[in-house]
Amino acid sequence: MNIPLNITKTIHDWLFSIMPEGVATVTEWVIVAAAYLALFAVAGLYLVLLERKVAAWFQLRLGPNRVGPWGIFQTMADALKLVSKELTSNANIDKFLYNLAPYFVILSSLIAIGVFPFSRQFQALDINIGIFFLFAVSSIGVIGILLAGWSSNNKFAMIGAMRSGLQTISYELSVGLSMLTMVLLTGSLQLSEIIEVQRTGGWLILQGHIPAIIAFMIFMIAGTAETNRAPFDLVEAESELGAGFHTEYSGMKFAYFFLAEFINMFIIASIAVVLFFGGWLSPFGITDDITWFPETIWFVIKVLGIIFLMMWFRWTFPRLRVDQLLTLEWKYLLPINLVNLVLMAIIIWLNWTI
């Protein structure tokens, strides 16, 4: 097995100098895992806070402002509350599947996060099928939602899970096809190589002009649907289904679903940044020559920009009906996407790229 762990070479060398090889490898795995878990928790908590602040801004409110300055410790307090809560369940559930379901959702997003190149050095797993691996791993997450809905022994949860299945199976097509359109331009599935292509030729959304912009729009729509966020949040439509598939969950198990939703948003935004906006590359290459400059900053700025866009969607559009949701995917997005794919192929064939 060949996993290049190139987060920081110094730590790697230091570890191998003080320990035998086998122990050092395992220690390195543990350190990488801990780093990513910390990133996961911090990103999740602060995205929740950001969501609440953005929502407050859109609705002319103040938002959380009591715990710490500008309420920055609000979500930490919420997390502590959730940890200390009792884990309840109702009668006649399938205990095993009920307890297993949250882990499917959270593990699939946790594995996916390891593939992203946050900077030149900061990438845990740089496999040659990067994009496809992301697609494969994120397709596991929906199983958790389906299992949660079924094993809760609750009709509302069940309907929520069914809707989620419909939605994910349909919109996965659009996500995959729009990613494929961009892969045509790069000729590689490896995430670090996709970014290398953009260093010389400019960001992919500019390189592929019209089809790239269409692909970006489709990706954003389908990506929002993949994360089950408004306007596609039929899965947990509060006015119809209670809380949807996680109605019966409490405490930390609920928090897993909740965190996974925000991390999935982060993942979709990261894919968009890598595929369309040059990953950690700076705009116009202004910091490319400065070796000590932390490129992660550019990545985070771009990701936050996309996430803000998704939050903007959420607080602007009303929720779709199920039939509208399916019509949008199968009668509009999918045909447009297929035509777009052919268009992109023609553009590359005739060498019309910038």
Binding site: N128, I129, F132, F133, L147
Partner: protein, 168 residues
């Protein structure tokens, strides 16, 4: 390290396959089957064939298992249990699987394995060229035949799902 991981994955496959066929709750059986499929994809990743591993995850994990769960969700209530299989059928199934195991073991032990020299991991581009190649060792014909088969399946599914028109 690879050896340890291989034994862990194989143990997972064996345990969960047995659990899958012996469970009386259908969705649990499906979940155990999912674990088996994920462990198999783990073995593909272990031998550095990550493309096939990812295909295994997408097609079986994200496709087949989701469809099975979906159909279970539609027709099966949580309190239902599968009926116990009669002993005669159990014996027949056991015998067939023993025969299958025998054939597989025979094939593995008689095949002359050689150590791979100058190995390099397979790129997706190579797979694509092979899949659409019509030269020596190309797979264009099976590829096209399978796509025609898939088209036929899709047309069939649409015809069945549409049913008769209301005014007929």
């Amino acid at each position: 390290m690879e050896t340890i991981l291989f034994y862990i994955l194989s143990a997972l496959i064996v345990v969960f396959s047995i659990a899958s066929v012996s469970s009386r709750k259908i969705l649990r059986a499906v979940t155990y089957l999912l674990f088996v499929l994920i462990a198999i994809s783990g073995i593909y990743f272990l031998v550095d064939y990550s493309f096939l591993g990812a295909v295994q995850l997408t097609v079986y994990g994200g496709g087949v298992i989701v469809l099975i769960i979906f159909s279970v969700l539609l027709v099966h209530h949580i309190e239902l249990e599968l009926e116990v299989t009669p002993i005669k059928r159990k014996i027949i199934a056991g015998l067939i699987s023993v025969v299958g195991l025998g054939i597989t073991l025979w094939a593995i032990y008689t095949f002359p394995f050689t150590n791979a020299t100058n190995y390099k991991s397979i790129e997706v581009a190579d797979i694509g060229r092979k899949l659409l190649g019509y030269g020596d060792g190309g797979f264009i014909l099976p590829f096209e035949v399978i796509s025609v088969l898939l088209l036929a399946v899709m047309v069939g599914a649409i015809v069945i799902a549409k049913g008769k028109k209301l005014n007929e």
